[in-house]
């Protein structure tokens, strides 16, 4: 299992990547701070403070971009600069790819935990059950990493894959109606109810914090189904492209 031992070094590399850190940790912290100060204690229609809604959505939304780290490392190590060096090592590149994915997922979860702690401690945001929130964050970051890897493997040009990953992140946020309300279209509503990972994750956390554990499970299960589908696609596309 020497491939798994590389996780430590991937982790060290990730912790030195300050730009990613600024984008995935600094920006959300600033955004959350500004939003929380602006929104104050205003209560929404359903009785939960708007702040709880927005902050949870923001933290989950940033998880959609967590896959970009995995994607970049896989590209650098297995397709670009370090490709030949890694191929000459006596280890399984596929497993190495998986360990990068694992490291990326863990990194993204860690950022999520920092954000959850920050929002709970400073702004007293209600996340419901912490363990449940952690589970949902784990699901989200796994999904994002896997989806981004599918993009990396399915498109020849990495630049396009990067753009696709942004389309995935921004598109889901857009469809969830965070920028502006979406038109009341049956197709969009259905997509938000059953497919959009951001809304699934949010509904899951929202249900659990208002006491509907079984519905929470349902949404988490839907999210897991998405992960399984994406993983299947990852295996299919990865088999063709892996060096």
């Amino acid at each position: 299992m020497k491939e798994l031992a590389t996780i430590r070094f991937i982790g060290i590399r990730m912790s030195r990547d300050f730009i990613t850190m600024i984008l995935l940790l600094g920006v959300p912290i600033i955004l959350i701070t500004v939003f929380s100060i602006i929104l104050g204690e205003v209560e929404g229609l359903s009785g939960t403070p708007i702040r709880d809604e927005t902050v949870v959505l923001l933290v989950l939304g940033f998880q959609l971009f967590g896959g970009a780290i995995t994607m970049n490392y896989v590209h650098q190590d297995l397709f670009a600069e370090r490709k030949n060096r890694l191929l000459s090592l006596p280890m399984n590149t596929t497993l190495y790819g998986f360990s990068i994915m694992l490291a990326g997922i863990i990194y993204s979860i860690l950022l999520g935990i920092i954000l959850i702690t920050y929002t709970t401690m400073v702004f007293d945001v209600n996340w419901g059950n912490f363990i449940w929130a952690l589970l949902v964050i784990t699901l989200m970051s796994s999904l994002s990493s896997i989806v981004c890897l599918v993009f990396t493997f399915s498109v020849k040009n990495f630049k396009i894959a990067e753009r696709l990953s942004e389309v995935y992140g921004v598109g889901m946020i857009l469809l969830a109606g965070l920028f502006f309300p979406m038109p009341d279209n049956a197709l969009i509503n259905m997509f938000n109810d059953y497919v959009n990972p951001l809304m699934l994750a949010y509904s899951s956390i929202d249900q659990v914090r208002s006491g509907g554990l079984s519905d929470g499970w349902l949404y988490a299960a839907l999210l897991s189904v998405l992960i399984l589908i994406a993983f299947g696609l990852l295996l299919l596309t990865g088999r063709r492209r892996m060096p």
Partner: protein, 229 residues
């Protein structure tokens, strides 16, 4: 005008660029008008300032690329002055963005959006466009690689939009933020939009544009210093 022509060619050769430059303003035309009275203009027009910032950082990235690849060094040895290089590039960027502004204004007019005063809106966007280009020029001069410059600027754009009152009315924010907002060019853009909807006093509009132009001049001076190494 060789550099100008070449800059245009370089930008338009990139397919993603072409897509990015045409699709987004067209999509912005079709965004709906907000129902609860704010933003005052249709959403696409309210957020167009953000788009202008994005486009300008993307366009000016070819100058950072020149520095990365050593083109600036070769230019220094060639019989072309830095001033020529600068203004021809900037002209190319402006031409592209002016076309975008024309697309969005005329498109909105044809689509039937309530734009209040389309001509003044065009002027406001034009002035803000100059500010956006010079801000990204100055921003780029701080970086060595275009990727990191672009990524961090993305975060800065979000912050400027948020604190400058494009995403939220400034009045909603706490007093401290309301005061800080004045330093962001985006604040002046949203003030300008407000003038276009409600404004009567011509002087206010001139003042807003003057502030934006001052910002443009300031950042242009910072950004235009030649950095060879």
């Amino acid at each position: 005008m060789t550099i100008f022509r070449f800059a245009l060619k370089r930008i338009l050769r990139d397919k993603t660029n072409v897509l990015f430059l045409t699709l987004f303003p067209i999509a912005a035309i079709f965004l709906p008008t907000a129902e609860d009275g704010w933003p005052l203009l249709p959403l696409g027009y309210q957020y167009f300032g953000i788009l202008l910032l994005f486009v300008s950082i993307r366009l000016t990235s070819i100058m950072i690329e020149d520095r990365q690849k050593g083109v600036v060094k070769r230019l220094a040895a060639a019989p072309v002055s830095h001033f020529n290089y600068l203004w021809q590039n900037l002209l190319a960027f402006s031409v592209i963005m002016i076309i975008q502004i024309i697309i969005i204004i005329s498109g909105g007019y044809a689509y039937g959006h309530e734009l209040y005063e389309p001509w003044n809106l065009t002027i406001l966007y034009l002035v803000f466009m100059f500010t956006a280009i010079s801000i990204s020029l100055a921003w780029n001069s701080l970086y060595r690689s275009k990727e990191s410059s672009f990524l961090i600027f993305m975060a800065v754009i979000v912050l400027m939009a948020l604190l400058g009152g494009i995403l939220f009315p400034v009045e909603m924010m706490p007093v401290v933020f309301e005061r800080i907002a004045v330093i962001f060019p985006t604040y002046w853009l949203s003030e300008g939009i407000e003038w276009i909807v409600f404004g009567e006093d011509r002087g206010d509009f001139l003042f807003i544009n003057g502030v934006l132009l001052l910002y443009a001049l300031f950042f242009l001076i910072i950004g235009s210093i030649r950095r060879i190494s």
